[in-house]
Amino acid sequence: MILEVEKPLLELERKIRELQEVDRSAGVDLSAEIRLLERKARQLKESIFQNLSAWDRVQLARHVDRPGTLDYVAHLFTDFVELHGDRFYADDPAVVAGLARFHGQPCVVLGHQKGRGTRENLARNFGMPNPEGFRKAGRLMRLAARFGLPIFTFVDTPGAYPGIEAEERGQFEAIASNIALMSELPVPILTVVIGEGGSGGALGIALADRVLILENSVYSVISPEGCATILWRDAARAEQAATALGLTSETLKRLGLVDEVLAEPLGGAHRDFEGTFRTVQDALRHHLETLQDMEGHALLDARYAKYRRMAVLGEAR
């Protein structure tokens, strides 16, 4: 997948590779030219990634090569044991969950999981949970609370699945129950929005003591396409809607709706997995340390107080 905004950069990088190939195979010394182009590529990268629009960010957040929940689980956690099923109806592959260790500390880790490629995406339902996904997450979060384990959740979904069976099995109830549950579990809950934060489907695993968001991730009450359709009856104006919805990490931080924005390596998370993992790991470690020092009651009071503030109100007269 190539994004519009990345095209000039990718083109330049291709040229550099060609020159390197000629340099190597033909024995011509092109090192000066290569250095020049490399400097140019660096500058171009900076100028592109320091001026991203909200719509560019939506594209980056949805990038198929962006690290997903299982990538973070594999690199930030050890001893991961995936656990399946909601004990009511089914196992939902759009949500992965299990026990693991984070720097030795046993924990519950879970998140939305999209697929790479058509087959995997169909299997994962494009990361759109059915009620069973939320209920599996809820079951394991309850387990975590019973054993005093911290909970890590990773958000990356276009939204809860809009399907007939999902409605029949109470999509609205599944989401509401999880949100309420997360407000009352007396263990640290840490959430990272790693890609797309799609409305209620995201919030269904994202009420937390700390909500961190990667710089190019987005978190929105409605998809820009959906918003454009409703406001202007024209999905093509999604770009405009993306700007209006205030879905970027900076806007969310300014409004006090997320706790910290995590800088991505230049070029975006999909171009430097290792760098991204380091950033997320350091941030989670830091926040977990602070939260682990708090008593359960203090944790819950602070959590309630944080959400209690999330409103912008006016007074008439």
Binding site: I164, A180, Y307, A311, V312
Partner: protein
Amino acid sequence: MAGLFDSLRARRPRVDRVAASAASSEHWVKCSGCGTAIYRPIFLENGKVCEKCAHHHRMTAWERLDLLADAGTFQEWDASLVSVDPLGFGQEYLDKLHSDRERTGLSDGLLSGSCSLGGIPVALGIMDFNFRGGSMGSVVGEKVVRVLEGAAERRIPAVLVTCSGGARMQEGMLSLMQMGRTCAAVRRLNQVPAPFLVVMTDPTTAGVAASFAALGDVILAEPGATIGFSGRRVIEQTIRQELPPGFQSSEFYLEHGFLDRVVPRAELKDTVAAILGMLCVPAEVRR
């Protein structure tokens, strides 16, 4: 006291413009269920329920208040809380807020306060579809939280009548977060414990259905209300087929086990009072 209620009454819109917009003339209302023309005084007397097909037409928050609250007992809360435009959506949005305030006599999409209901003191919140489709932004969320917190403080039941298409899109993520804070407030009320009763009316969908509305100790719904998470059109586009009639109705969710009862409007107040009466056991008896 009399002065207070005079001023309240003064804020109520004089004409029932909502029904008026659907009317074929000033004296007749066309039923949106069966198309029958109904003489307006009869229509209003029947609580906007069609005698012929029992279609429940939407009520304004003020009409719903008259239906549920014991006469003369309502004290409004937070009447001056109004929405702002936190994301800078623009003048058009601000104008719509202004005209909805004028038209509905409400500060935003929810009327709230304390009253007695069948002799039981309650904290009551009623959503009104005529105010931006009942959408939940910061003010609606805040008022819901204050109803729940107010009930918890007073150790009285909270009753919320929902009527909403979901989140207030113009408030972006602030509106999504109202789901989080209202759910958290429900759990605090649960711990008191004080009863929380929800009445879902047409429509109760998306962010309101998937938050506090789904968490009632008892959830009642009016007949034929649209209830659900995803919008009908979104589902149809996703699965590329038409949905059967009756999908996402009150009766549908009663059958699937997500509602306690579907209650006709004429029986609503008595049903609510009966349930609350049994849950409101005095603390000294409860042990």
